[in-house]
Symmetry: C2
Amino acid sequence: MKEDTELFGICPYVTSQKVLTGKWSLLILYHLSNGPVRFNELQRRLPHLTQATLSKQLKGLEGNGLVVRKEYQQLPPKVEYSLSSIGQRFQVVLDSLETWGHEYMDYMEEQQK
Amino acid sequence: MKEDTELFGICPYVTSQKVLTGKWSLLILYHLSNGPVRFNELQRRLPHLTQATLSKQLKGLEGNGLVVRKEYQQLPPKVEYSLSSIGQRFQVVLDSLETWGHEYMDYMEEQQK
DNA sequence: CGGGATCCAAAGCGATACTG
DNA sequence: CAGTATCGCTTTGGATCCCG
């Protein structure tokens, strides 16, 4: 398999884009920004994702180091997802994206007319 | 075909993520941030993209309203790509992403040790 | 110069069913 | 509760070739 990871770890834009690949990454990061959330709670807040999809996205984000998974050894099982320290620092990006997103939606609505 | 555009135009995160889908969108937007660039020039600055891929990505960004294509009717042909006004406002996001990207790379490098 | 057309392989996503 | 396994479909990206 060809690795195009050449620019990964070099260019901040390529690196960022890789991290944000998942279709739901932004939304998930947003929902984790106010502290740890359990799997089921997360799923309830994201009705458009199935369990399988949510699980995969979380694994991705965990693999990228943005999200931390904490498992409590008990019955019934309890797992909490939260932001790592670098994940928390992503909040800045999230904020600017939220602002821009609103501007964008307004802008596009204007264009329609 | 099922439209999952339900949240598009409602949630700024979903909207943003759609706009940033392309594998090279961030990089392209970055290269356009200092003024109009011709197609070939853009391609020279992005050696990892083939013409076909660059063309598709540009079409995508143009369709999303972030990029403007200006064609000069002359020989030899000349086409310039630049940021629309909403595309220019994306600069804020790009800046925060660049900062965070560097932090992220440093962070991940530390983790390696 | 600035693309388009075609084709293919790979990845992504989601539905469904099952599990410790 | 918090997942995993499997599968099919759709979506991308990229290679290659061709064009006004």
